[in-house]
Amino acid sequence: MDLSRRGFLQAAVLTAAASGLTVACGDDSGSGGTKNGKNLTMWYWGGALSDKVVAEAKTHFSSKIKLTSASIGGDFKQKLTTTLAAGGSSVPDITGIKGEDIASFLPNADRFLDLNDLGFKKISSQYLEWKTKLAQTKDGKQIGFPIDIGPTALFYRADLFDKAGLPTDPAKVAAEAKTWDDYFALGSELKKALAGTFLVNNISSVFNIVVGQGTKRFIDENNHFIGDQDHIRAAWTTAIRPYTLGLDAKINDNTWNAAIGKNLTTELGAAWHALDIESAAPGTKGKWRVCATPGGPANQGGSYLALPKQCRNPEEAFKIISWILSPDNNAKSFTDAAIFPASPASYAMDAMTGPDAFFGGQKIIEVFGPAAEAIPVSYEAPADSAVMAPFMAELSSIEAKGKKPDDAWKDAVSQAKQIARRQGVS
């Protein structure tokens, strides 16, 4: 084979490009650079922050800092983990961390800056204590600045309640559904009056909320597995009740959107769930109401902003995030993108106290506000969500295959124990 000069040059250019690529990937420097950079990058995912507030932040700080934000799609945690592990200049200066992922980042808190050093300690009283604490290491290092929370409530169809001869006023419904047993009794009445309707979409969601209402989860602070103890067993028993009573719609696939406006009379979920209902069943506008969760509030979701160790200008970056997440801007984010603030001061602001047309003009902050402040503090171990997964899977087995609840419990516990051992929990 004869190689022409042009062919050789092309090959040489390609080789150089390829080797450049490999070298770039192996590059691990850049973390020790100067700490007063002018160009800062921020990573978050669609809906994590209000795009309007972020745009305002860009102009507000434009004299000192050029802030570039990127909305990262796909598996956010995965992308952040690999970028942090690779290091280098591609690590964002500011990043979002999802609420369900924060615990798994805590063992590697040294990858992030301690926000307390930058002044979070002074303003932390403006934010909910339990939420702040979930992003804190045992020795008090704060890696996450709370963005939002997901206080739960009971959403219900007032029109169907009325048809069944039940009270429709939120305060009265809350009183009638004070405990889980009351709530299931209410569901049985509803079912009798309105054939073909269901109280809950699936029992995993009930389990999830009941666990969140407690102060203990699956692993305790001494890194012991406690998922086989009474508090989890009780949550399990509660979750099984609607299944045995025939109040469970057993929706485990993505047909929830189709079911929501039709045969579900109530829905348990966090504040952000209101948007899901509204977009899935716009035809039911005005028919829904919200009241307190049976058995007390729990939290679902809600995220943080963090500053990776490589941050090129920690002081300015902290100023930016505390500006974006100030109570004023949090209230704006709520009106703009339904992001429920972690700062109680926002709850009294005009942006949040208005009546909601979808809920028949109810002022829903009157339900979510008190719920937000009453959420119990519980320790969430890094392996918590991994250990919880088999319980959810077994609950869906009961619904899908008619597996006996006792067998499902045994299997869930033994699998959870194994996952816990794998993750170094004793």
């Binding site: 084979m1 190689l3 062919g7 050789f8 090959a11 390609l14 080789t15 490009a17 390829a18 690529l21 490999t22 990937c25 995965q78 983990t81 690999t82 942090l84 592990a85 999802k98 369900e100 798994s104 980042f105 063992p107 590697n108 990858r111 995993s204 969601s205 999830n208 057993k250 929706i251 485990n252 696939d253 993505n254 047909t255 189709a258 079911a259 979920g269 966090a270 769930h273 679902q300 979701g301 890094p382 392996a383 969500s385 991994a386 919880m388 997964a389 959810m392 899977a393 869906s396 087995s397 619904e399 899908a400 295959k401 299997d411 699998q415 194994q418 996952i419 051992r421 794998r422 993750q423």
Partner: protein, 294 residues
């Protein structure tokens, strides 16, 4: 050897990229299989512990069973359907090009789009299939919650995607068979069915074996189909569908590594799976050997 350096230089980009993005990761994952690693912290050597966990992990064995069942449920109808379609297409005289493209299109459709579409069509409560069954008085079938039907739907999805691909390969094979063989069979009085089983299939044998091996590799790698059909989110941490009936081995690997941050265990899963694939390849190879001797 050295005098050819320009040629080696010319082909080097592929090898450099291959080493960086395929060769190195493969062996790094082998190294990871003996460590406990959460993706960011320090790695801790644990010896064979991950494999010991794997051996005692019922979910791992469940995922293997699921994968094999889904593989059979997709490969058998795919290859059979492809052969029938190819034979039909081979005898068609008009619009050949149109049929070829029409049957190949599913293979180039985005797998995510296809999975979302199948999810809507087979939806338990409000799906198209159940709606049609309803009009003739059949009560709704729980396509996406019954453990067997879940596998059937995934198998059907893969059949739909891969039949056209295999058909093209068979068609190429059919066109290479000389017409005189068929004419001779016709003279001897063989009907179309007999011709198909005694002339077409034996001559196509090497091509069929090729598609069997390619389908084995594709079928065992099923991941996106259940991943999209049974997506998990903050409110529903369920992966692999109700009762984990759609949890394939690669999906379990993904869950362990990237959702549970257990990279060492994830690596152990894929290496154990690699051993299983080797076993299946050896079985395949044995069958090929026996075929060539007889």
């Amino acid at each position: 050897m050295l005098s050819y350096w320009r040629q080696y230089l010319a082909i080097s980009p592929f090898y450099l990229i291959f080493i960086a993005f395929s060769f190195f990761p493969v062996f790094y994952s082998l190294y990871l299989a003996f460590q406990r690693y959460d993706g960011l912290g320090t790695k801790q050597f644990v010896g064979l512990q991950q494999f010991e966990f794997l051996w005692n992990d019922p979910v791992f064995w469940l995922s293997i069973r699921n994968t094999l069942v889904i593989w059979v449920l997709s490969t058998v109808p795919t290859l059979f359907g492809a052969l029938v379609l190819a034979t039909l297409l081979h005898s068609v005289r008009r619009f050949k090009g149109f049929y070829r493209i029409a049957l190949y299109v599913p293979n180039v459709t985005s797998i995510v789009a296809v999975a979302i579409f199948f999810g809507a069509v087979f939806s338990n409560n409000f799906g198209l299939v159940n709606a049609i069954l309803g009009t003739v008085g059949i009560s709704p079938v729980p396509w996406l919650s019954n453990p067997w039907l879940i596998k059937l739907v995934i198998g059907l999805l893969m059949t739909w995607m891969w039949t056209g691909y295999n058909m093209i390969i068979y068609l190429a094979g059919l066109q290479a068979i000389p017409q005189s063989v068929y004419e001779a069979a016709k003279m001897d009085g063989a009907g179309p069915v007999r011709t198909f089983f005694q002339i077409t299939i034996p001559i196509m044998r090497p091509i069929i074996l090729f598609t069997v091996i390619v389908s084995t590799i594709n079928g065992l790698q099923s991941f996106s189909e259940p991943q999209v059909l049974f997506a998990s989110n903050a409110a529903n941490a369920n992966l692999g569908g109700p009762g984990q009936a759609g949890l394939t081995t690669l999906l379990y690997f993904y869950q362990s590594s990237f959702l549970d941050n257990d990279y060492g265990y994830g690596a152990a899963i894929v290496w154990a799976f690699f051993v299983l694939i080797i076993v299946l390849v050896v079985i395949n190879w044995r069958i090929v050997q026996r075929g060539s001797k007889s």
